[in-house]
């Protein structure tokens, strides 16, 4: 009996030390996750998350200081992707996913003051002093900085209209297994 106890104990010690050594010398390097997180964010440096730019937000996410729901323009899709990357669980019920939105100018109210043009991070608003402004859809990231500065509230956010080219089949409801 001593033989069996002794041999098993010896095996345990030996294998345990092998694991310990392996965890030191064969450890996997940390991935450069910050760059990957930054790539997932919209990149318009709008500042709605509270950080100066998307790079800083990505750094905070990598450190675990910021929640994955920090990006309003990104909506549910971004929050989900960030959560998947960081391996955290996220409660999406509070994320207002109005879907991707872009800014729209109500032309009758626009006074051509140019304030929105100056704050738009991607130069998506065209116009000139005393001329009606308009939003270039493809360049708008939905950061809504312009909405905040417009003095006449001519700017608002509207959902991106679904076109024939963007429509996709929904996933079928799966049967119980």
């Amino acid at each position: 009996m001593l033989m069996s106890v002794g041999s098993l104990a010896a095996m345990g010690l030996a294998l345990g030390s092998v694991l310990g050594v392996a965890s030191r010398y064969l450890a996997v390097e940390e991935n450069p996750i910050e760059a990957e997180l930054q790539a997932m964010l919209p990149g318009s440096q709008c500042g709605q998350c509270g950080y100066v730019g998307c790079a800083q937000a990505a750094a905070a996410l990598a450190k675990g200081e910021a929640p994955v729901t920090l990006c309003p323009p990104g909506g549910k899709a971004t929050a989900e992707a960030l959560a998947a990357k960081l391996g955290v669980k996220v409660d999406l019920s509070n994320v207002s996913d109005s879907g991707p939105q872009i800014a729209e100018v109500t032309e009758e109210i626009c006074i051509g003051c140019c304030r929105c043009m100056k704050v738009c991070p991607t130069d998506a608003i065209i116009g000139a002093a005393k001329q009606i402004h308009n939003v270039i859809r493809e360049a708008c990231t939905g950061c809504s900085s312009c909405v905040d500065v417009c003095p006449t509230e001519a700017l608002g956010m509207a959902p991106i209209p679904v076109t024939l080219q963007h429509w996709t089949w929904p996933k079928p409801a799966s049967a119980h297994n």
Binding site: W169, H176, N177
Partner: protein, 357 residues
Amino acid sequence: MSQAYGIAVAAPHTTTTNSPTRIMTLVMLALAPATLYGFWLYGWPAFFLWAITIGAAMLGEAFCLRLLNRRAVPVLMDGSAILTGWLLAVSLPPWAPWWIGVFGGMFATTLGKQAFGGLGQNLYNPAMVARVALLISFPVQMTAWVAPLPMFSAGAPGLVDGLLIILKGVPHAYDAVTSATTLGFAKTELSRGVNLLESLQHAPALSFIGSRPGSLGETAAWLILAGGVAMMFMRIITWHIPLAMLAGIAIPAAILHAVDPSRYLEMGAHVLSGGAMLGAFFIATDYVTSPNSPRGQLIFGFGCGVFTYIIRTWAGYPEGVAFAVLLMNSMTPIIDTYFKPRIYGRDRKGNPLQTTN
């Protein structure tokens, strides 16, 4: 005359009339002749054990479904629990006690199937999982074979007696009936040092017709074969797994028997006894746990056969089909990863074909 049609339904707008229920029913029909023959061979106790096992399997499934808050009857109607119970029943000793059937049946559907997520999600063949669990937990009852005592013949138990045998155990009056299977006998004698050439003269006769000790599913080899071929014609199974498994048993058997007939049983004995035929046609061909591609199926079947032979010949159990099938089931995902069908326009590795123009 404009009309609205609600939400769009995706193509295709037509479908086959096939269904899982139809498939299970056809498999049960293919299994029925051998089972009925087994009832006749072993009498009423075999029938009651079969019924109890199937009932327990269905009970196990219904219990799990109720735990999931789902309605049990529609799911039971797909016939898979019944088939699992049936396959388990035909691999048990025909006069095993009732609680073997109950424990095995419930184990098969609860831990063998529903615990993985239900139909289509299990990694291991549920009937074999249950059989192995029974075999290692209750080795005595699971190896208590009986010689055939055909129904209505002199000395065979009647209906009520048959039920009592299952419920209360085999009374002493039937002691003469207990017997070993050919494989079991050969293995025991070999371990006692008696080589095959001598021992087989006293062994229970191997009969293709099936009049020998064994489980319901192993005695009527030709009825099992007929059922298997019928399933192939009905396009429920293909020839790949059965042929490969029988080859995996027969080829090593033939080679080793030629090398040393005193230690190794011949090919016919191996193929006809144990669960080889049943395993090849009904057990290893289970959709959920076998590979998807023809090449993968050949490898899977061959592996089942070879493992069966190895376990029968050199391992501690006289019968190896259940263990072999479970071992190969665990290989199925990796077989599926490496043996995929060739895609049109790509080579075997998955890269686009090179244009020769």
